[in-house]
């Protein structure tokens, strides 16, 4: 059947390709040692280091919000990209710890960044959130819905972690990382290999629902709970395969990489993935978890920024990114570093 109307819609046109133009991160000021964590859980500093690789992490101040940290990280990313806030075409915030059903964190963040009336929204994909956002941003730039997209991964996990739960208290932390994605004349973000597996909803979840508190004010405040062994096995088995698929999809060999920047879930997961991927020894691997703990959606951009700042990885080099976590959600892609 043909159209009844003679009028035709103007075609949408975007940039031929997209790239990460700038990166920035924010780490809260307060350093929390394993010794401090052990004041509230039956554990030892050695046990924490052996299980997770973590030596210290950062906790946000009580009055420091997800939006505060997101603005701090995004401001640096915008400056590093060399654009001005009024050029921002969209703001995407990936987080699971903006504990307000509405409005979104992104709406506040965009406003505070000076992004005017740019579209802004949050996405919920847990530790895969940043890589999900990067995929959306690339599609938006190439699809013509925005020239420059700010993608922020930010978490204040201390708001949903029970500090007396010995399986999670030492693991999770706070922070923010951000990038600006903009137009490119050459391919600089590879195809995203992503997905989710809802058959393991219980692997990482909350101990209860917030509305339980409405019915029973004395109900336990909901906190994150995790089946560590299930997650570990899934991450090592399945995520190394997803990372390899992202390499294959981009047409890149492991030996072409300048960096491997996986979600900082646990140092032992990182090391097991490196082994499973058979990454050559000389390729720098993000091990930021040692100093930052697991910051969920923020971990990949925080680690990327740290490695670039330290001169561990070159501008223009290729990095393999992978995020994976509750959902179970996952996303991986190869990117050219800004």
């Amino acid at each position: 059947m043909t159209s009844m109307s003679a009028a035709s819609i103007t075609p949408v046109t975007g940039a031929p390709f997209a790239r990460i133009m700038g990166v920035g991160s924010y780490r809260p000021a307060r350093v929390v040692t394993n010794a401090e964590i052990c004041e509230l859980i039956d554990s030892s500093q050695e046990w924490i280091r052996e299980r997770s690789g973590i030596e210290e992490r950062r906790f946000a101040a009580e009055d420091e919000t997800v939006a505060d940290m997101a603005v701090a990280a995004a401001s640096k990313a915008i400056a590093s990209a060399g654009i001005t806030p009024d050029q921002i075409g969209a703001v995407i915030v990936a987080t699971v710890t903006h504990l307000l059903a509405t409005p979104s964190a992104a709406a506040e963040v965009g406003y505070r960044l000076g992004a005017g009336n740019a579209p802004a929204f949050d996405i919920s994909a847990a530790c895969a959130g940043f890589c999900y956002g990067l995929s959306l941003a690339q599609d938006m730039v190439r699809g013509g819905s925005a020239d420059y997209v700010v993608v922020i991964g930010v978490e204040k996990l201390t708001d949903i972690v029970d500090p007396t739960d010995r399986s999670t208290a030492f693991l999770f932390a706070d922070g923010a990382g951000a990038v600006v994605v903009g137009p490119s004349t050459t391919p600089a973000i590879g195809p995203t290999v992503w997905g989710s597996d809802g058959s393991h909803l219980d692997a990482i979840t909350m101990s209860g629902r917030y509305e339980d508190l409405r019915n029973e004010p004395r109900a336990e405040y909901p906190h994150v709970v995790m089946q560590g062994q299930v997650v570990f096995r899934w991450a090592v088995n399945e995520m190394a395969r997803v990372a390899q698929e992202a390499l294959d999809a981009a047409g890149i060999k492991a030996t072409d990489l300048s960096a491997f920047i996986p979600h900082q879930a646990n140092l032992r997961i990182v090391d097991a993935m490196v082994r499973a991927l058979k990454l050559p020894d000389h390729i720098p691997v993000a091990r930021d978890i040692v100093k930052s703990g697991n910051t969920s959606a923020a971990s990949v951009p925080i680690a990327m920024d740290a490695m670039l700042q330290a001169g561990q990885i070159p501008s223009g080099g290729l990095a393999l990114l992978i995020g994976f976590g509750a959902g179970l959600a996952f996303a991986a892609q190869v990117v050219e570093l800004p």
Binding site: E50, R51, Q227, G228, Q229, V230, F232, R233, V236, N237, N266, R268, A272
Partner: protein, 82 residues
């Protein structure tokens, strides 16, 4: 052809040694993974995954907690691969 329990024990000892550094000579059927060999839960997952690959069996998550001793694991693998 199914492997004997002796062969499975030897193969499992190699895996445990490679992942945790525990001496092969210390790995005997009556030893508890946690209490005697000091293998933590994440290392146990790595041992299980390596065993699955080596012996061509499946050891589901809910089964792992029942494998208290090395002997438990050997019997499970023997049964699963029979």
């Amino acid at each position: 052809m199914a492997q004997t329990e002796q062969e499975i024990l030897a193969g499992l000892a190699d895996i445990v040694n490679e992942i945790t550094g525990v001496a092969v000579a210390d790995i005997a059927t009556e030893k508890s993974f946690t209490d005697d060999l000091d293998i933590d839960s994440l290392s146990m997952v790595e041992v299980v995954m390596a065993a699955e690959e080596k012996f061509g069996v499946e050891i589901p998550d809910e089964e792992v907690k029942n494998l208290v001793t090395v002997g438990d694991a050997v019997s499970y693998i023997a049964k699963a691969s029979a």
